[in-house]
């Protein structure tokens, strides 16, 4: 049973400093990570436990600043928990700050190969998908244009096209799709649905109830850094609405 879980989160907690400018000293840095939070720190997430089975589509619900994005980053392993463990058994395609790996001075073509390569794809795999990626992003004319000369919409489009083509079994989506025009957003959503039908595992952070219901069957409701409810998405949304009456 246990090996079916592609993501296992056990007693995970992560703390941040309240006051970024407050002084840090060497003692702080090297203090053990098990120590208790100091007065100027708070736990963005604590005692979070859940398992994810391959193929599940999970929506993360909560108000702003309740730890949704942080949870996603822990699953993407671009942040590390201060206590507990987060183990991810399969490859992850993170749609988090998707334009992050792109380099201004390189052409779109070079950037596609670079970003996909950094996520672990071989040259051959990228070449096979290259035309499809460019077509999806609708920027066929700009393949050899330096990335910095693209419009911001085009940048997001090419980034989404690359990351969503990574063939990783787990996909993380963090409200990136709020950008771009309506037609492209719909296209992205259809791509996500295709991936879901292909059996991918989805982790989806959004404030949009319609989107959450569209993709997700299970919901995680985070409030004040704790996992308050883990259940079918409709129950989770009902509870969220009851608490905050939106």
């Amino acid at each position: 049973m246990a090996d079916e879980h592609v993501i296992q989160v056990r007693d995970a907690g992560i703390r941040f400093r309240l006051n970024r400018r407050s002084r840090r000293n060497f003692k702080d840095l090297f203090a053990g990570r098990k120590r208790r939070a100091r007065a100027d720190e708070f736990w963005a997430l604590r005692n979070v436990n859940f398992d994810v089975t391959a193929g599940e589509a999970i929506g993360v619900v909560g108000r702003n600043g309740q730890g949704k994005s942080t949870l996603l980053k822990l699953v993407a392993e671009v942040m590390l928990a201060d206590e507990g463990t987060v183990s991810v058994g399969q490859g992850v395609a993170p749609l988090i700050e998707i334009t992050g790996g792109f380099v201004d001075d390189l052409s779109v073509r070079d950037n596609v190969f670079l970003t996909a390569g950094l996520h672990g794809m071989t040259k051959k795999e990228i070449s096979e998908r290259f035309d499809e990626i460019i077509e999806f992003a609708e920027i066929g004319r700009f393949i050899d244009t330096p990335y910095k000369h693209l419009s911001s919409g085009m940048k997001v489009r090419i980034a989404f096209a690359v990351i969503s083509r990574l063939e990783e079994p787990i996909i993380l989506v963090d409200e990136v799709l709020a950008v771009g025009d309506k037609a492209f957003r719909e296209k992205c959503y259809r791509r996500i649905e295709e991936l879901l039908q292909g059996g991918r595992t989805l982790f989806f952070v959004s404030h949009n109830e319609r989107d959450l219901r569209r993709f997700c069957s299970r919901g995680l409701y985070l409030d004040k850094g704790e996992l308050v409810l883990d259940g079918p998405i409709n129950d989770v949304l009902a509870r969220y609405n009851a608490d905050y009456g939106s």
Partner: protein, 279 residues
Amino acid sequence: MPTFHHLPAYYRGVANTALERPKWSPLTRYRRTLWLLTVRDLRVRYSTSALGYVWSILDPLVMAGIYWFVFTQVFERSVGEEPYIVFLLAALLPWMWFNGAVSDATRAYLREAKLIRSTKIPRTIWVARLVLSKGIEFIASLPVLAAFAIATGAVLHWEAVYFLLGVALQALLTIGVGLIVAPLVVFFRDLERATKLALRFLFYASPIIYGIPDLEKLGVDQLAAFNPLAGIFSLYRAAFFPDQLDWYAVAVGALMSAILVGIGVLVFSRTERAVLKEI
């Protein structure tokens, strides 16, 4: 807390059709990523500058020219060996590698913050890739040394094989220092300037414009050996000036490099979590 045991069958049973990809060992993945980032750096540099490769030669060339002029034409030089330009370049080129990698390490995380926040890449790569790309530039600048050696008729000795040992030790040392500097700068921005200052001091404190035998006259050569660069540079210089080779300095330098790598790994692993939150 309610758990979620009863998943509807329609998505519990779906096979995962994500493409089966070759599973690389972590080491292969590391190497590939390191190479991709290094090639990216070189490509960016050459696509944005008209002179490209010439820059990596021009910098040491101008420096060597200045020191050669000052120490052979203006002052009566009492240090080093003949031909002085070869003596100088044999240590100046590797110094450029160390200097470039360490001063870039101060921005290793800050410059790549966006990528680090969005992509899971082993975090030591951000230091290792600087050492590698500056190391490649160092190798690429060696023809300058060769050209001057030929022009001045310097004799190449069999001790040139120690060159490889020098490269290995220096790579080790530079990674160690980089692993200490890179994470700490994230918390203490002042350290960036402090590092620059320390590097400038180290330039004159290391046997670059002079040699270890010149320090013997002052009686500080035993002390100077604790600067790992002293032993490393003596290995490089042995190719043309076997007298410069100082095994005591090499041994102490190797030990110091190993200690610095140890400290670097410790600093890096203890600060990794905090660095990821801070950037």
